[in-house]
């Protein structure tokens, strides 16, 4: 035995025996092995690749739909609504939680296990360790996000089918267009996901083994979700790194509302870069030999937080200066235009479903007149007190039609229109469609007010 062991330890000429810095690719693989070996990561991978499909298929069997969630009311009409409902849920809950568990723990776990010195002796470069940990955790995050997207899409297509999707302005997207837009929407939320992951790195580096580090992405995300619900100026809202978690809905209008989406993505990426750079700077300066020092401390927290406050202020200033956005961004003419456009598209759809003579949006010349209940209240800003009258014309008919809607407009620009008569136009009744009976499309529908005036009118 001894002879065998001694022989096995004989050194070969030129053999690498440690000391040299380990290439980043190998260090990444090492980090991936450690991450994937954790039961909670395995559980998350399973959950992300299975649960969304089960959810979408399950909802497909129900008569009650999650109408509070964007595209929820179309889950029985198109398989492409499923991944969008999941995207809305992911933006609020799943992505912050996933980034917390993966990125928020990737550095702190070494503090908890007491393995930093071991890792440093093996890799011999804090820079490479940082890059490897960041790349490995982003890879796992990408796997989880891909699971959410693929699973919900497969579930939707299996349960409902590859059918056209009704957009947020009521226009019908062909299945191929819906597929491309869904894919693009999921790609767009990678920017705020990266920002949350970078905040996770920063929390994990600055707060060491404290559980607060793990919670940073969740807390930041929660704070931003609360901020999006408050009547803040639109420039503040758009300058938050989580805005792209909302503004992907601009992909489902015609023309696409790309301005807010691109700004949201840019802000998210800037936050991702700055937070990662701060985490990197703090990490490589850490003294791993100092007894009982896990990197946390007031100075580290100040160095980590203050620049981000600066980034938020700079983002706000740039957005405010470049878009001239003031107030809530929800103005009377925008609400009227959005509602009229959505009504026209959905009227055409209703006409098809009821087998009436075909009509185009241009022929309808739909307009809307909206106010906030009382003349004493300015017709702007979010609220559920918007009341609108939509007017349209039919070809060859002298008189114009009118329909009333109550609108609940949320601070992020989303609105839900609730038909208030006449019943035969926008009241509740079922229409027979090739996919089965469905509520009258003009009864209740979702729409979107573009908060920034960045999209050319078309």
């Amino acid at each position: 035995m001894t002879a065998t062991l001694t022989r096995s330890r004989e050194r070969e000429p030129g053999q690498v025996t440690g000391g040299r810095r380990v290439p980043v690719a190998r260090a990444c693989r090492f980090e991936l092995v450690k991450l994937v070996s954790q039961w909670r990561i395995r559980l998350l991978v399973l959950a992300c690749w299975i649960a969304p499909a089960l959810f979408v298929v399950g909802v497909g069997q129900q008569s009650t739909l999650p109408v509070d969630t964007l595209f929820g009311r179309w889950m029985l009409a198109s398989g492409w609504a499923g991944p969008l409902v999941m995207l809305g849920f992911a933006g609020t809950w799943a992505l912050p939680l996933l980034t917390s568990v993966v990125a928020g723990d990737v550095f702190a776990s070494e503090d908890r296990l007491g393995t930093w010195r071991h890792l440093l002796v093996a890799v011999r470069s804090p820079r490479r360790i940082f890059v490897a940990k960041a790349v490995a955790s982003l890879t796992v995050l990408l796997l989880l996000v891909a699971g959410l997207a693929v699973s919900s899409t497969v579930g939707g297509l299996l349960a409902v089918g590859n059918r056209p999707l009704v957009g947020l302005d009521g226009h019908l997207l062909a299945p191929s267009d819906a597929a491309a837009s869904v894919l693009l929407a999921w790609v767009c939320v990678l920017a705020p996901t990266l920002a949350l992951a970078a905040l996770g790195f920063l929390g994990s580096v600055t707060l060491g083994r404290s559980p607060m580090g793990l919670l940073v992405p969740v807390l930041v995300s929660l704070a931003m979700a609360v901020a999006q619900m408050l009547p803040l100026p639109v420039a503040v809202r758009v300058a938050l790194p989580s805005y792209a978690l909302i503004s992907w809905n601009g992909l489902f209008t015609s023309p696409r509302q790309l301005g807010p989406l691109l700004i949201g993505i840019a802000v998210g990426l800037v936050w991702a870069v700055v937070a990662t750079a701060l985490a990197y700077a703090l990490f490589v300066r850490r003294d791993f030999t100092h007894p009982a020092h896990d990197g946390s401390g007031r100075r580290a927290i100040a160095v980590g937080v203050l620049p981000l406050v600066g980034v938020a202020a700079a983002s706000f200033a740039v957005v405010a200066a470049t878009t001239s956005a003031t107030g809530s961004g929800i103005e009377q003419d925008k609400v009227q235009r959005s509602l009229a456009t959505a009504f026209a598209h959905l009227y055409r759809m209703q006409t098809d479903q009821l087998h009436r003579p075909a009509v185009t949006e241009a022929q309808l010349k739909a307009t809307a007149s909206c106010g906030k209940g009382s003349t004493r209240v300015a017709a702007e800003g979010p609220g559920n007190d918007w009341r609108c009258v939509v007017t349209w014309h039919l070809p060859g008919v002298e008189a114009s039609g009118q329909a009333i809607y109550q609108l609940d407009v949320t601070p992020d620009g989303r609105f839900m229109a609730d038909g208030d008569g006449p019943k035969e136009v926008n009241g509740y009744f079922l229409v027979r469609t090739p996919e089965g009976d469905a509520p009258n499309p003009l009864w209740q529908f979702d729409g979107n007010v573009e908060l920034l005036d960045t999209t050319p009118k078309g």
Partner: protein, 313 residues
């Protein structure tokens, strides 16, 4: 054959803020030797081991490891490995997976890296595929040693490698370290367990408050100018006691009122006085059946240092 130095340190200092961890340390360790570091808590042992592993760089002084100067952090040459503050392992991986991941990290094929060999060497073959989450400290120590062996080190640096080991585990570890030294690897280890150090080390360095107070062969400790207590077992305890009472430089340290024929007899003496007493016993026909230090020279030195440190506070 000329002995090669694995470590050559001259005037090493290292401070953490206002705390001076190492204060002008000199150290030499030869290839193929096992060198022990001993000292009270806070003496600077772990800091010194960290410098040897390249985890930090000294504030001043010169450190050469395996013939190469270490002038920057994480700049230790190839062939240096080990652990400080206990072995670090990933509890979600099995021992085999831990070692395979480490081998892959170093660019070796896990199938040919000798993982089974090192697991067998430290006696962990039976639990090679169990999760390390439930491992005892002793098992983790052995796995930490296996991880170090995987790199085929020329200098192995270990912090308290015997902590938590049962006698069988200790035997394994001692055997491994002995074989490594026989193969030419230098081993530097710290321990509070004097038995381990005496069983393993050919040389020791005693640190106190960041300074070297002794460095050299263990045998030299016994001849240092320090009285030790020795236990004597003889064929005639009464005669032995009488001779000890009369012998110059010998103090009988039995408790007051002890029986004259009580066995064993404990005396405090320097080595030359003890030699003289033994010669007198033999000359008077008293057979000496056993002569052992009550505490080892190393432990006595350690205790003396600790007492000095306490007295200095």
């Amino acid at each position: 054959m000329e002995e090669t130095r694995a470590i050559r340190a001259r005037g090493i200092t290292k401070s953490f803020g206002d705390v001076v961890a190492l204060d002008g340390i000199d150290l030499e360790v030869t290839q193929g030797h096992i060198h022990g570091l001993v000292g009270p808590n806070g003496a600077g042992k772990t800091t010194l081991l960290g410098l040897l592993l390249g985890l930090a760089v000294a504030d001043s002084g010169r450190l050469e490891v395996l013939g190469a100067p270490v002038e920057r952090a994480l700049d230790a040459p190839d062939g240096v490995t080990g652990f400080v503050d206990g072995p670090a392992l990933y509890p979600s991986l099995t021992p085999r997976q831990n070692l395979a991941a480490l081998a892959a990290l170093r660019g070796h094929d896990a199938r040919t890296a000798g993982i089974d060999d090192v697991l067998a060497e430290v006696g962990l073959t039976d639990v090679a595929d169990d999760r390390t989450r439930g491992f005892s400290l002793g098992m983790r120590q052995r796995l930490g040693l296996a991880a170090a062996l995987l790199t085929r080190p020329r200098l192995l640096v270990l912090d308290e490698p015997s902590n938590g080991l049962d006698p069988a585990g200790k035997k394994h570890v001692h055997g491994v370290l002995g074989r490594l030294a026989a193969d030419g690897t230098a081993v530097v280890l710290s321990s509070h367990n004097m038995d381990d150090l005496e069983a393993l080390c050919s040389e020791v360095t005693i640190l106190a408050a960041g300074r070297v107070v002794f460095s050299g062969p263990l045998s030299k400790l016994a001849t240092e100018d320090r009285e030790l207590d020795y236990r004597l077992l003889t064929s005639d305890p009464r005669a032995a006691r009488r001779l000890a009472d009369d012998a110059p430089g010998i103090e009988v340290v039995d408790g007051a009122g002890a029986r004259q024929d009580a066995e064993p007899l404990v005396v405090r003496a320097l080595v030359p006085a003890l030699d003289h007493l033994v010669a007198r016993l033999v000359a008077r026909g008293v057979a000496l059946r056993e002569l052992t230090p009550v505490v080892s020279p190393l432990e006595a030195a350690f205790l003396a240092l600790t007492e000095q440190q306490e007295a200095g506070r």
